[in-house]
């Protein structure tokens, strides 16, 4: 009874129910939505968001936010792409090292600005959002890396694999999800991120290394953006200085917030975020099928963020009320 109840009140259950209802509703109207092929479409749509969302979740749990993920994705993808184009003699898997390394460095810079100068992450990353995008233009001389330069082995990772022909990119996203789950649930530092976000001053008193952890979450967010960057090259076959990753931050934040991660820090689960990303993927795949013009998508993302905020607030409120009672 208690177990049933606790499952029912969980945020993840709510999102899962929403996904099922959405799919059924769309499926009633357009039966082709409930096909294996459509599942493939959705699963191919979400891996990049999924990968970046896991990093963003850690940042949000630690009471920060990272708006620069799209630009980090773009810059690291560009660096890897330029390596493919200008240094074809280097084996292509090195591109992963380049992209992830570049992303990690950019994330580390975000983290350093936040910790060293004690600046609010939202302003810092608003600045680096533009800074990194500008750097992308500068390093690339504003030129796109064309499809022919992206190694076909890399491109095929988004198309197939020996395992039932399910593309590698899906396994990769799944791997990152599992890794994130293990990290947040089963490592000391993972739990310390939650402790830090839950009560920063208490965390400091309890000897949690606040600065190091802040650096770590931003670096992870950057590294995962870098991974998503090279997978962008794999998925779409090109890297463009202005389009690649542009506006990505809104999708990612929408997914993470709807997945139940609190903007006040300390709260969030990997399964929740995963379901949040999938829900967004279902919406994105359903819209064209239903003939809803793409122009509505911006408004839908905005509305989703606000609704998620309201849900977060009503969930929090009970907790806050009980806290206030004992304080004061």
């Amino acid at each position: 009874m208690n177990i049933v109840r606790s499952i029912l009140v969980r945020r993840e259950t709510g999102i899962a129910v929403m996904i099922v209802l959405l799919c059924l509703a769309v499926g009633l109207y357009k039966p082709q939505f409930l096909t294996l092929n459509q599942l493939r479409v959705i699963l191919l749509l979400v891996p990049l968001i999924m990968i970046v969302a896991m990093g963003q979740m850690l940042v949000l749990v630690a009471r920060h936010v990272d708006l620069s993920v799209g630009s980090m994705l773009g810059l690291s993808a560009m660096l890897a792409g330029m390596m493919f184009r200008d240094m074809p003699y280097i084996p292509w898997p090195v591109g992963f090292v380049v992209a992830i390394g570049a992303g990690a460095l950019l994330g580390l810079l975000n983290g350093a600005l936040v910790t060293v100068f004690k600046l609010p992450a939202i302003i810092v990353t608003l600045g680096t959002l533009n800074l990194y995008r500008g750097l992308t233009f500068i390093v690339s001389d504003a030129r796109q890396v064309d499809r022919q330069f992206v190694p076909s082995a890399l491109k095929s990772m988004s198309q197939t694999s020996p395992i039932f022909g399910i593309p590698w990119i899906i396994f990769m996203a799944l791997g990152i999800v599992l890794l994130a789950w293990w990290f947040t649930r089963h490592t000391i530092v993972g739990r310390q991120i939650f402790a830090l976000g839950s009560n920063p001053s208490a965390a400091e008193l309890r000897g949690v290394k606040v600065n190091q952890i802040t650096l770590l979450v931003f670096t992870i967010s950057g590294a995962l953006s870098g991974l998503a960057g090279i997978m962008y090259a794999s998925r779409w076959g090109f890297v463009n200085p202005s389009n690649t990753g542009a506006g990505f931050e809104f999708q990612v934040i929408a997914a993470v917030v709807i997945g139940g991660v609190s903007i006040n820090g300390g709260v969030g689960t990997v399964p929740g975020v995963m379901l949040g990303v999938l829900l967004l993927g279902c919406v994105a795949a359903a819209l064209p099928l239903l003939g809803i013009p793409g122009t509505a998508q911006g408004a839908i993302y905005g509305a989703i963020i606000l609704v998620a905020l309201l849900i977060d607030r009503s969930v929090r409120q009970q907790g806050i009320a009980s806290l206030k009672m004992v304080r004061a």
Partner: protein, 330 residues
């Protein structure tokens, strides 16, 4: 006597160098946005023309292709006092005021590769890559030949209001009424907003909604690449034929692996080449910006200024396929 002629010679030299310097006109081309591979080739046309004839060329472009982002760049060129502004406009009407200001200063404003439809009076002339009235028909013929003139076809376009694409789509729906295409049916027109992600989901939705689909026309470079990728990834290249307007550099792989048999475009290079020559000739008085007047451009021959002060660099689309694609370096 000798002395006098020496002086004359000297002044003549001085005059002629000064005149030479003055003769070199300043052309600037303002692209839709930076990082757009299409403009690399177009810019190359300008650059190579200006290496041969008397012009200085610069390329600038805003970071985003948003309606107003080109305005500060045009203002800056007015301030710099350039002679010719060539521009691929991001908006059919938001630039009217600043174009007027430029023309009031005696600057020639030419739109290149796209026009400000409905506001033609605010620019001097337009250079279009081909005769846009024929694009629709050409594309329908292309897809028809690929699917054996039988079956359902659909269009994957850019944005709902993209003026050029809409003009071509109108041409397609006119052309398909031809009895030759009686067995072909245009079942849907969808819009991918020139974003790879959106174009992909729209293409996937097309395939789901119309299982009998035989052909897709994507008259936009982003759309045709995204559509090709969907077909490639689903492995249905033999069932669904994708064609449209694409850049060889972006389509090469798809053509080589058989995903796409053929697609079309024109030469962006020639647009730049022609624009530079025309600009110099206009400033030198060798050509007149009047409907019906003609002028010579090396490699392109005699060019005529058509109705509405518009010029086409080539009369019909170039078709790219496995045989010829490696001959193009853009």
């Amino acid at each position: 006597m000798l002395k006098k002629s020496l002086i004359a010679l000297a002044t003549g030299l001085a005059l002629s160098t000064a005149a030479f310097a003055q003769d070199k006109i300043d052309i600037v081309f303002i692209g839709k946005n930076t990082g757009n591979p299409y403009f690399d080739s177009l810019t190359k046309g300008f650059v190579e023309a200006c290496e041969k004839i008397a012009c200085n060329f610069e390329f600038v472009a805003p970071a985003t292709a948003e309606a107003t982002s080109q305005i500060p760049f045009i203002e800056a060129q007015i301030q710099r006092g350039v002679d010719v502004i060539a521009i691929s406009p991001n908006s059919p009407d938001a630039l009217n005021q600043v174009f007027d200001a430029a023309r009031a200063k005696g600057i020639i404003v030419m739109t290149v590769n796209g026009d400000i439809t409905g506001n033609e009076s605010h620019r001097d002339l337009t250079i279009l890559p081909t005769d846009f009235t024929k694009v629709g028909a050409d594309q329908v013929e292309m897809v028809g030949s690929l699917i054996g003139y039988d079956g359902e076809i659909a269009i994957l376009s850019a944005t709902t209001e993209a003026p050029d694409q809409n003009f071509w789509i109108k041409g397609m729906s006119e052309a398909i009424k031809d009895p030759k295409y009686a067995k072909m049916k245009l079942v849907a027109t969808v819009y991918g907003d020139d974003q790879p992600e959106k174009s992909t989901t729209e293409m996937e939705a097309l395939l789901s909604n119309y299982p009998d689909l035989k052909g897709v026309i994507a008259p936009t470079t982003v759309g045709v690449a995204a559509a090709a990728q969907v077909v490639q990834s689903r492995g249905i290249a033999d069932k669904v034929k994708v064609t449209g307007l694409g850049l060889p550099s972006e389509m090469r792989d798809f053509v080589k692996d058989g995903t796409v048999e053929a697609f079309q475009l024109w030469s962006p290079y020639n647009e730049g080449w022609l624009a530079a020559h025309l600009a110099v000739d206009l400033k030198a008085g060798k050509a007149k910006n009047e409907v019906g007047s003609t002028f010579e451009v090396p490699n392109l021959g005699t060019i005529t200024i058509n109705e509405g002060n518009s010029i086409n660099t080539q009369s019909s689309l170039t078709t790219f396929n496995a045989e010829n694609i490696d001959q193009f370096d853009f």
